[in-house]
Symmetry: C2
Subunit: 251 residues, 2 copies
DNA sequence: CGCCGGTTTGACGCTCTTCAACGGTTGTGG
DNA sequence: CCACAACCGTTGAAGAGCGTCAAACCGGCG
């Protein structure tokens, strides 16, 4: 299967990741080449498909490069909590390399394309390429930083603020990989998805979105976020992007 | 200062960490020795002291080996969200090694003793000792896994369940480092701390603790948790320790 | 046309917060 | 040795915010 993959395929698969990581550190040509060669396969799944099921032991990690995917946990009574919404350039389960068992599900929210990187390849990287290893480690630390901000959001912020904060975060993250421009970005999710991600119900999300629309701050409709007033949105959201660690520094 | 540290001091500082990591993988003698030599200093702080302030750039990471410490974020209006409660054997800011800036505060909840490991030493480990690097990486992934479970707790579980879940988690984590026995463990925190960690108010925590006491499931008083019925506690808490990744596997 | 998934809206109720007061314990200074 | 403050825990009453339930609506598609 590796043979089927062209260099063009590999470059496409790495585009988002290199933008994301390149914003935080310098990635050398040799390191890029190692990542390119580490990709064993590229896959596509339609919306709604489960990519990884909680409790399974994986032998490869997954790098998303097109579409929207989420990590989530389900409760016995059917409630779902979305832990993180993933976009192009995000590893969905890089932590599976060392945790071995995955403690949550991963599913495609839209049709999604992703590259597979075998754990063997990750292991070789960790044995031979310290800087690249630190970069990958860093990328899992970014996930943890995003987790922490979500704990704060869900634990202490009001419903509108939580939603506004999530939409701010997605704007910044999408912009970094070239998927958002100033005033708008594509977010092909349902209101129920936003509810899952914010610890709310879809009914209440609907009401809060109406409020954001009425106050001419933001409109979410037809899978698109239109930001009418970025300043007021950030303020309402209590959004400070420091937790996204956007500075470029040697790691 | 390094010269002042005896081998006994270093061993004491590493005890919790080695128990915690040793439960998840085999740590070799050479690796233990490297960790021992990486400790540059040992410090002590009284309860309430801030150990790391959000936004600062650190040049060393901190390993807690006695007392209770928390990571937390404060909001403009004074509300506080505790992100994680740390116990002996936990790194408080290992992620600071690669994130560079710390996105949260760290403070001692009781008097606390901890060891300092300079980032220079961590860097040398990451350059020369791949397996030990993976172990350290893994330990930050454990934090992330705990974060994820907290997102689920705060996002979807009821107040009693959240509190019960936190107390289950602490029991398991403390037991691993020898700080809990079957029916009870020391937890020298205030009800306000539990509130901070569960996204509740201390008033409501008080009511829920009374309920747990009345139903003869658990008593939290005088800095001690007494578990009357572990089975019912786990069930009420919807507690499944899978997310703590307790299996010993080569990483 | 009629179904289907998703959105929108209203009425109602429960969980948790807020505010406020009181009590118990510990430490401190006169 | 007692008075007093400070801190934490406890309790009550009232209310806000969000959830629940249910129905209507809307656009797309077979």
């Amino acid at each position: 299967m590796t043979a089927e993959l062209s260099d063009r395929d590999r470059d496409e698969a790495l585009r988002g990741l290199l933008l994301k990581l390149g914003a935080r550190d310098r990635i050398g040509e040799e390191e890029k080449e190692i990542l390119r060669r580490s990709i064993s396969d590229v896959r596509e799944l339609p919306a709604g498909q489960v990519i990884v099921r909680a409790g399974t032991t994986l032998s490869e990690s997954t790098l998303l490069f097109e579409g929207f995917v989420c990590r989530y946990k389900d409760m016995a009574d059917g409630q779902r909590q979305i832990l993180e919404i993933h976009i192009s350039g995000d590893f969905l389960d890089l932590h599976g390399f060392l945790l071995k068992r995955i403690d949550h599900n991963v599913a495609a929210m839209t049709s999604a394309r992703f590259a597979l990187i075998p754990h063997d390849a990750l292991r070789r990287i960790s044995e031979n390429y310290p800087h690249l290893t630190r970069i990958l480690w860093f990328s899992t630390l970014l996930d943890a930083a995003i987790h922490r901000e979500k704990i704060l959001s869900i634990g202490r912020r009001s419903a509108v603020t939580r939603i506004a904060h999530l939409l701010c975060e997605l704007r910044v993250r999408l912009k970094l990989v070239g998927l958002a421009d100033e005033g708008r970005y594509a977010l092909p999710l349902k209101q129920a998805d936003l509810a899952g991600a914010t610890g709310l119900t879809s009914v209440h999300v609907n009401r809060m979105l109406r409020r954001l629309r009425n106050e001419e701050i933001l409109t979410f409709r037809g899978g698109e976020v239109v930001i009418h007033d970025w300043e007021r949105l950030q303020k309402l959201a209590e959004f400070n992007p420091a937790y996204l660690h956007l500075e470029r520094r040697p790691r």
